[in-house]
Symmetry: C2
């Protein structure tokens, strides 16, 4: 086994230090700046977690109130961004829409100086849902919606714009909890992308555009959409079990299972699964939750592979009426907090991230001029 084979995909290779997140270890096995993810899900709101990740401590009441007020004031979109969102076709990939929206915003409201990084992060956190749902509603309903709602939370803002009315608290709180669960996860591919871009001392918007592009892939953020498509394919748990066993036999990839870092379970799964059950009951679901449970069980029985954070998040979103193609963009609206904190951490002790490659191409060739080539 060559050195490069061993480090393929940099699996297990330590690429730097972070104080933001510990994956594996004491407690639930996932903590943000030392706080167990289960405590944060039980007691905190998403804005509190965003503050914790970026500022470094849990906010007191006055800090949190100030932060919520600030985020509410940053939801509006410049006319130029709205124009671009209207130009982007209705059938575009929503992740491409967010990538483009952030890129255009970087032209209109450039960071200019790293001293402005927290403002850029807050602006993106506040207006990513505005971009997504302005585009979605414009093309789905022909409506130019008002993106400056007075909901206190990102989750309330999101669902209000999506459905055109303030959400039920059960739905808002459930979305909020998934935003907490998705907020941060160490050196995952999109976060590492953001850090590499930040490491050249490029600007904040460039780093976030790159991260969105990475998260778009089905091996990363795209998994929750693929999970939903799978769950919906079957009309009963029995059919789901049969179908998944068939897929395993044909060596097809089943999305929403397994993880590069976790080995026996994903601590986020139990929270999502519980919420999915509650929302399924409320929605009068006849088979989707049961399908999910059946698929989870057969994957464990057959392959000892566990459901990850994406698997039950899919049904959570589905039962609150979110179209499947908006699932991965929700991940962006959450992970912008982790990306931002990592960009700031990278900049605080920067070194260009530039690995080496193992050359496996041909040795030195004699150049043959074009007239002598076959």
């Amino acid at each position: 086994m060559t050195a490069s084979k061993k480090t393929a995909g940099l699996a297990g290779v330590i690429a730097g230090q972070t104080a933001l997140c510990k994956v594996g270890g004491e407690g639930a096995g996932l903590s943000y700046r030392g706080y167990d993810i289960y405590d944060l899900c039980d007691y905190a709101g998403f804005e509190e977690v965003a503050f914790l990740l970026m500022v470094g401590h849990l906010p007191n009441r006055s800090e949190l109130d100030g932060y919520i007020t600030k985020l509410k004031s940053l939801r509006g979109l410049p006319d130029a961004v709205k124009q671009v969102l209207e130009i982007v076709p209705a059938n575009a990939h929503p992740m491409d829409v967010l990538r483009s929206g952030v890129s255009i915003l970087g032209n209109l409201e450039p960071e200019e100086d790293f001293a402005n990084q927290q403002s850029v992060a807050d602006r993106l956190l506040a207006c990513l849902p505005s971009m997504l749902l302005y585009w979605h509603r414009f093309h789905a309903d022909g409506k130019r919606i008002d993106v400056e709602t007075d909901d206190d939370s990102v989750s309330g803002h999101f669902l209000h714009m999506l459905h055109g009315k303030p959400p039920a608290e059960l739905h808002r709180k459930s979305l909020d909890t998934t935003l907490i669960l998705y907020a941060e996860h160490e050196f995952n591919a999109s976060t590492f992308t953001a850090r590499i871009i930040a490491g050249t001392l490029s600007d904040f918007h460039s780093a976030v555009c790159g991260a969105i592009g990475a998260l778009r892939g089905p091996l990363h953020g795209g998994a929750n959409e693929a999970a939903m498509e799978l769950i919906q394919k079957f009309s009963s748990p029995e059919e789901a079990i049969k179908g998944v066993i068939g897929m395993l036999e044909r060596k097809e990839k089943i999305m929403g299972f397994g993880h590069r870092v976790y080995t026996t379970s994903d601590p986020r799964n139990s929270v999502n699964k519980k919420m999915a059950g509650v929302l399924a009951d409320e929605a009068g679901d006849t088979h989707l939750y049961a399908n999910s449970e059946a698929i989870e069980k057969v994957m464990w029985d057959e392959k000892k592979i566990f459901a990850n954070a994406d698997f039950f998040a899919a049904t959570v979103y589905h039962f609150m009426g979110i179209p499947t193609y908006l699932f991965t963009p929700i991940f962006v609206c959450s992970r912008i907090t982790g990306w931002s904190a990592h960009i700031m951490e990278q900049r605080a002790d920067n070194k260009l991230i530039r690995p080496a490659a193992d050359y496996i191409g041909p040795g030195l060739q004699t150049y043959v001029r074009i007239e002598d080539r076959r």
Copy 2:
């Protein structure tokens, strides 16, 4: 020294295999698919090198003619892209313009299937100069230029759009040579960014947007612009020497020098330096080339740090009338070939790139509810 300190910035860590480029080694010390960079500069054109990198062999005459014809047919911009380029402000960073142009194009002409990857690569190679110069001329001169010129080469197309007339062959050939030199360079930060994004199985445009964002940073592609600003600061070589010594004493960073991989010289420098001399003579230059030589010498004498590819590329571009803020975007118009070849290589034997992190944050904290926080 901890494991993470040793691997900070992944310096020297092998992150994968490539058959595209060898940095260091026999010959000039830089080869593309086994061909010495000096042979390619002497005998090949940029389109030939693009074909070599992406398709895998040097084209014969009929392949090259076909490829040139194809690229010429792909220069046009959709109206929606032109609209966006007009919306982007005149004072935007040109790298943000290219990042946004590629992102929008990804909405309008999505890759859809990896089977289309070569077409997407060719399209971007052909139309990146169109995007850049449509935006530049619209805002600089108020002109909506025709981006579909009949120049055979990317270099001719670029200079024709910039200056509104076909370029002199000396200028076209000089630009062409810098495009060859910049085309590919193993696992540099922008290429590695593209590979990470491709590694999640995301789309081609996402990978290129991320790469542009990484190249934008002054520790990567931005160096040629910083070099030009330095060279122009001084009115004579004597002043330049004094100025640079002062900067070194104040421990200021001098751009365009040194390299993560090369240790004693950058093989691309001698080619650029020679061209810069020829173009300086032609332009009747009084001091800029002499300033460059003086800065190169003092950096070696004082610090044993050598000029890299960016340093004399700056004066090459300057003497053909290219505004400094378009230097890094030219790098994009060239490196799109290397990025594209790496995206294809990553996909051909894909594994998610996801390193680990060394956690240095606090241990598990007791959660204090907000009403009990200070």
